[in-house]
Symmetry: C2
Subunit: 187 residues, 2 copies
């Protein structure tokens, strides 16, 4: 029986949705079990460290996605302008106009922060630094400050979009950033 080849690697995206929806504390093993279709026994086989290890795996998975799809292109692409524009496309698709929250940002406000402080710090530091590098390549003088502001603005737009129940806020933010970050000339 049971020829459903579930692997540990398949789980983080499913777990992520549970943590996004209910937060770290609110994500009970019962909900996780339901979302994954796995019994508690199986979950503890995959993640002996329990809930904390599950959340850590999710954060690592999210971090890896951003590293591959956002941070690395920002750092490495020859054409800085298209790299920045590509970041905005990826971010817009990933956060679905603010309907999907940033798990790392939510954990930063939560007391889950105490458990995962270094991962959370690393994620945002990589993002700001990668964007600053691209902006610098594009010839912006205020690259570091502008990068910090852009990442703040994206995080804040997720908060505001959800609070207002209006995806327009997020969409306007992305459009505004596209203009400001890829402006040809600038002080």
């Amino acid at each position: 029986m049971s020829r459903k080849p579930v692997e540990r690697g398949d789980l983080p995206p499913l777990l992520a949705e549970v943590f996004r929806k209910h937060g770290y504390e609110g994500a009970s093993l019962a909900l996780i079990s339901e979302a994954t279709g796995l019994g508690k026994g199986s979950l503890y086989n995959f993640f002996p460290g329990g809930k904390e290890e599950m959340a850590a795996a999710v954060l690592a998975d999210v971090d890896a996605w951003f590293e591959g799809n956002v941070f690395a292109p920002l750092r490495d692409k020859a054409d800085a302008e298209t790299a920045i524009s590509g970041m905005l496309d990826a971010v817009d698709a990933y956060f679905r106009s603010g309907r999907r929250i940033c798990l790392v940002g939510a954990f930063a406000l939560d007391d889950a922060r105490s458990r995962f402080a270094e991962r959370i710090r690393g994620y945002f530091a990589s993002w700001v630094d990668a964007l600053a590098a691209a902006l610098a390549r594009a010839g912006r003088k205020d690259a570091a400050a502008l990068a910090e502001e852009a990442v703040s603005l994206i995080q804040g737009a997720i908060v505001l979009s959800r609070a207002l129940g209006d995806t327009g806020t997020f969409d306007r933010t992305i459009r505004g950033l596209r203009k400001r970050l890829t402006a040809r000339r600038q002080a």
Copy 2:
């Protein structure tokens, strides 16, 4: 005994700290009892609706503070420039350079949002509208968009400051906003 005249009105600030620190789910009655020095009996006398009513009272308290100290001045002060500058002073003091989170913003990302959606929406709508009104009085053409962006930026700066463990991010954001929102001339 027990001549400690505790009133219901004294509790929201104490409760707020517990919810800020642990989130809605993580704020257990045991923690709340410890933080307030009150037994469960007293807590349920003050808040028959239990934890949900406690959180609602906290949100109402926060909302009232912002209404009095931030939103109303933005709407009513004759001098729009000093009203905006006053908002930034109040926000900077309230959030303590990002060391203190915005409970309403945190709840917006949490699943506490489903319970308090209208209060959360109202808070941010009031903030954006009041700031837009002040910016319009100051003669800004893009008042609504600028207000939305400013509030997003403040929320995002709280996330980023905490994530990076660096109050500098929040401080730079406030300084940048002071410049941008009170610029004499502008398109």
